[in-house]
């Protein structure tokens, strides 16, 4: 499978395990609930957060996570934007933050600004067509996870 990571289309072998699926060899992610229940004995590479979860609840685990997946069940659910921002700015997380699911091309730029560096859109999405969205704007007024200072400091 392919995803967008750090501005390029790359192969990705990670599996998103269902809660009743036994951990297999290779890299995998688990749901927030499963992580909370089984994390001591789980060699998961990443945890999947949905809107209703709190980043604070996995803050202590971040050093052992290769990636945090922010799930977008629907494009209108904007909670994931705050989750990504908190992961980067509040908890200083330097691993992969991946947007997964129902986001659309026109959210990609905003997602990249709040700290998402990997994009795994709905199956069948043309990744090549998503790439230009990363550079749709060359100026931003406000500070975010990408620029720590607002534009006015450069004026």
């Amino acid at each position: 499978m392919q995803i967008i990571k750090d501005g390029a289309i790359v192969n990705d072998d990670i599996r998103h395990l269902a809660d009743d699926e036994a951990p297999a060899a290779g890299r995998f992610t688990v749901s927030f609930e499963r992580w909370q229940a089984e994390k001591a004995g789980l060699a998961a590479a990443g945890v999947r957060l949905r809107g209703e979860h709190a980043v604070a609840d996995i803050a202590a685990d971040l050093p052992r996570l290769e990636l945090v997946v922010v799930e977008f069940p629907a494009l209108a659910d904007g909670r994931g934007f705050s989750h990504a921002r908190l992961l980067r700015d509040r908890y200083g997380y330097a691993g992969e933050v991946r947007a997964l699911g129902g986001f659309i091309r026109d959210q990609v730029y905003f997602l990249s600004r709040v700290g998402v560096n990997a994009f795994e859109p709905a199956a069948g999405t043309d990744l090549q067509a998503l790439l230009p969205a990363l550079g749709e704007f060359t100026v931003n007024y406000q500070a975010a996870a990408d620029h720590k200072q607002p534009a006015y400091h450069r004026r």
């Binding site: 934007f81 705050s82 931003n140 007024y141 406000q142």
Partner: protein, 550 residues
Amino acid sequence: MYQYDQYDQTLVDERVAQFRDQTRRFLSGELTEDQFRPLRLMNGLYIQTHAPMLRVAIPYGLLSSRQLRMLGHIARQYDQGYGHFTTRQNIQYNWPKLEAVPDILAELATVQMHAIQTSGNCIRNTTSDHLAGVAADELEDPRPWCEIIRQWSTLHPEFAFLPRKFKIAVSGAAADRAATQVHDIGLHLVKNAQGEVGFEVLVGGGLGRTPVIGQTIRPFLETQHLLSYLEAILRVYNLFGRRDNKYKARIKILVKETGIEPFTRLVEAEWEQIRDEMRLADKEIERVKAFFAAREYDAAAAADTSFAERQAADPAFAAWVRHNTAGHKVDGYRAAFVSLKAPGIAPGDITDAQMEAVADLADQYSRGEIRVTHTQNLLLADVKQGDLHALWRQLSALNLATANIGKATDMICCPGLDFCSLANSSSIPVALDIAARLDNADYLYDLGDVRINISGCMNGCGHHTVGHIGILGVDKKGEEWFQLTLGGSSSNDAFLGERLGPAVPKAEVGTTVETILKTYVDLREGEESFLETVRRLGIAPFQETVYANH
């Protein structure tokens, strides 16, 4: 006023390019209607009853003459020769073609205008006092703060997909002319005991289906912390606001269900974490304030004697001065309203030719600037008293000098069923009918200040809840009926109107309003205003007269 530099201009130009591509993808079938909807809404484009409706942002209601000329040009070139000013100080076009919208936005960008975030579940156009910068009762000009908020909120990456829309209003004067108590966030410039200027922050107000008066979340916020505090409120709202029911998704419901004290603790805890890193630089505050710095005023303006002489000689001019001009902080100047409430004209509507003419008048008499009021009129804020007579004559020739500002015929009215696909009743004909019944000027003036607000549906775009007389269109088995409320206000004494009783059929709204006003005339004591009479007596005497024959 604020002038774009390369950053502002680049951003708006890139937004035009982005929307042009989105429109192209939709028209070519790459995007479905469902996928295109949130994108076009973020740019103020609705699909309405007759055609797409485009809402263009007028930040805090301030326009240059060049911008107003462009709005007139767009009305003529792309629409049917008119535009409609709204309660959010914006303008709406009712007849643009979808495929032309990218070109309209490109034309707007040439005069530093856009339609960014005029719709959608994001931070909308920040509104303010139409007398900002010239009001005698002003503590500090709110517009630099509005501009700072505009820049922070424009394409904010974290808050573009909120649970629901989000509206901020800023007032810097003793009298609240910006309805700050009925906004998601209301900011009021205040002085603390040490004499420092800061903000009283209100949260959780709003109109619509569940009208609520906002509550104070922080009595005094240092100005340097403005953006961090707003960001803290928005983050709490984005994370915890309800997303299961769009009618319960506004921040007012979150504040109500959480309780103001627990909600305040959430916001303050978030704010603690970000306040230092987001502190506003003094240099930036000064940079923005410089665009709005006090102007040079002509010290000789007050020496003019023609103003008093012409009022004495011409009662029609005197009436216009009395009702359609407001006091100015500088002696010898007044702020002059351009009434968009002439008989037979839909409230807030203006033609292309009128827009161009008002732009010329602004150049001639008022430093080339025009303000849009949230009551759907225009204002020329800096007119020398000696120029008012000439201005009045020219406005009269344009049908823009109906002397009714603040009076019962200066109604706020939404577009209603005639244009809007949400509405369930036609509000404009009701407004025109009421105005026609109040065509006797002596009677109109005798009634004093009366705010009549009309909404074509419970979404409340016509602010009916805070009208002294509120009129709300409801659908009863396919027929248009109207629910009346009395005693509402969006000023310092903010109050939600009380329901008078059963709805009345459309044909009876006009006579019902006449009965209410007649009842006031019969019951008022001395100089008591309509609102004061309603507050003193309650609605019972009005119910008696209105429903006497039912």
